[in-house]
């Protein structure tokens, strides 16, 4: 059997011992030793869609950008409408290089205190956080302060029972909070940041808490029978089913938001006014259509189609797979990748090359599993 282990210099998460004590298999990821699974990827994945799963995402970067003009400064490097983002609201956005290439995807929350200076809380990917911090320091004017909250950890609680679980350990904390809204509460004397959202397609919360006491929060959550610890393996299969891109795989610096299916992150006002990195390129893509697009694929049969596989129309290579694997809730393999735009319509039949053989694919609209976010007006 072939072996895929790598030895690397890895840092430890605040909950490193906690994971190992629960039987986690640890792997190097984003510069940290991280749990890839506990009881098994499939079981963990299915548990999240039925109950609630607890993910340690403390490897991610938590940043504060603060000062007069912070929204305007961020708008030069993010294509979203930061100025119109109200306090307590969260927006998905993308950090853009000067040519419009995607440096990272992130969540921005307006955490301006009443009467205080403009203040934004950013959560960025773990693998890119140091580059992001350097980029932000370079592109934000001196009057805007950038603080890296490296003394805080981040947990994600996801699943249909997440809200009930949070209510039982922090009563009232998430009252009235809908999808893409955030708030702060006090828990055991510390500030608990709560953002309603996540990376699974299910209802859930991202919880920011002091790293030193993170184990207490994790213990309180895991004590609930409805909650199980979930590793990176299931995190990946869950987000793939939810049609959510993974930076470094479905998005990288050679791609812009229009190609990557994130045109929605370029708000209407910004399309009209431009004024952000790569605006010209993006507005051209929006007007004429990009040459290639990120789409989803249903896979016929049982052979998993994985990242790197060539996509063919007849004998012509027309794209490549950027994410793929077996989807436990779908019960079949699924994939995402880039194809020339003329082949991107849902229902288009294509093929992937896997170990010298052709596997039939059909372009599929995302997500593969419907999202069940807690939106206003939703059941």
């Amino acid at each position: 059997m072939s072996d895929n282990e790598e030895a690397a210099e890895t840092e430890l998460l605040p909950l490193d011992g906690w994971h190992r004590a629960r039987g986690a298999r640890m792997v190097p990821f984003a510069g940290y030793a991280m749990p890839i699974q506990y009881e098994g990827i499939m079981a963990e994945h299915l548990w999240v869609r039925e109950h609630a799963g607890l993910f340690d995402v403390s490897h991610m970067g938590q940043l504060i950008v603060e000062g007069e003009g912070a929204a305007e400064a961020l708008e030069r490097i993010l294509p979203g409408d930061v100025s119109a983002l109200k306090p307590g609201r969260i927006r998905y956005s993308l950090l853009l290089a000067e040519d419009g290439g995607i440096l990272d995807d992130l969540m921005v929350t307006n955490v301006t205190a009443a009467g205080g200076p403009p203040r934004y809380y950013l959560v960025v990917n773990g693998a890119t956080k140091w580059d992001d911090i350097a980029f932000l320091r370079e592109h934000l004017p001196d009057e805007i302060t950038l603080t890296h909250l490296d003394d805080r950890g981040l947990l994600a609680l996801q699943g249909p029972e997440a809200a009930a679980v949070l209510e039982s350990i922090a009563p009232g904390a998430a009252d009235g909070l809908y999808f893409m809204q955030g708030t702060s509460a006090e828990w055991r004397g510390e500030a608990l940041g709560i953002g309603r959202g996540g990376y699974t397609g299910e209802d859930g919360f991202e919880l920011s808490f002091p790293a030193e006491r993170l184990a207490e929060l994790a213990d309180a959550l895991i004590a609930d029978d409805r909650v199980r610890p979930i590793g990176l393996g299931a995190r990946d299969s869950l987000r793939l089913e939810a049609g959510l891109p993974l930076y470094g795989h479905d998005m990288d610096e050679t791609l812009d938001p229009v190609e990557a299916g994130a045109a929605f992150a370029i708000s209407k006002r910004r399309r009209e006014q431009g004024g952000f990195h790569g605006a010209e390129r993006m507005l051209r893509h929006l007007a004429e259509g990009p040459a290639k697009k990120l789409v989803g694929f249903a896979v016929e049969g049982r052979v998993p189609v994985r990242e790197g596989a060539t996509i063919l129309a007849g004998d012509a290579p027309v794209g490549r797979v950027t994410s793929g694997g077996f989807a436990p809730s779908v019960g079949a393999p699924i994939a995402m990748g880039y194809v020339e735009t003329q082949y991107s319509a849902p229902g288009t039949p294509l093929e992937a090359e896997v170990r010298g053989r052709r596997v039939p694919l059909t372009v599929e609209t995302l997500p593969f599993i419907p999202h069940r976010y807690h939106r206003k007006g939703a059941q």
């Binding site: 059997m1 072939s2 699974q37 990827i41 499939m42 299969s237 998993p304 077996f326 393999p333 170990r355």
Partner: protein
């Protein structure tokens, strides 16, 4: 019948000049949930240490090597509909393929059950 083991966590059960090959319990545990298995068809020539089959877990594909050289007589048909058999019964019903052994001397150097257990303990 005697069972031998490789350092790549394959087992081979020898019966005269034919044998059955699979992966060990240690291997299936390392792989996690198995979602797909590609076994060689009858007539395929395999070489000692060469790729003979592929086993896919949720996260990744892994190669399975043949412990000895020979000709495949049968790939396990049950694994097509139920790849999870490799997880539930890796050393029984979850066998991968049967073969005609070309050179029995290639069995020398393979581990017996005791040696394999010691090998796993050292990992």
């Amino acid at each position: 019948m005697t069972r031998y083991f490789t350092q790549e966590h394959e087992w081979i059960e020898v019966d005269g000049d034919t044998a059955t090959v699979g992966i060990t319990d240690y291997a299936q545990e390392q792989l996690g949930d198995i979602v797909f298995v590609e076994v060689p068809g009858a007539g395929t020539a395999v070489t000692k240490g060469g790729e003979a089959a592929v086993v896919e877990s949720v996260k990744a594909a892994s190669d399975v090597y043949s412990p000895v050289s020979g000709t495949v007589t049968e790939g396990n048909p049950a694994l097509e509909d139920d790849p999870a058999l490799v997880n539930t019964d890796p050393q029984g019903e979850g066998w991968f393929f049967k073969l005609q052994i070309a050179d029995a001397s290639e069995l020398e150097g393979l581990m017996d059950e005791v040696a394999y257990k010691a090998f796993c303990d050292s990992l």
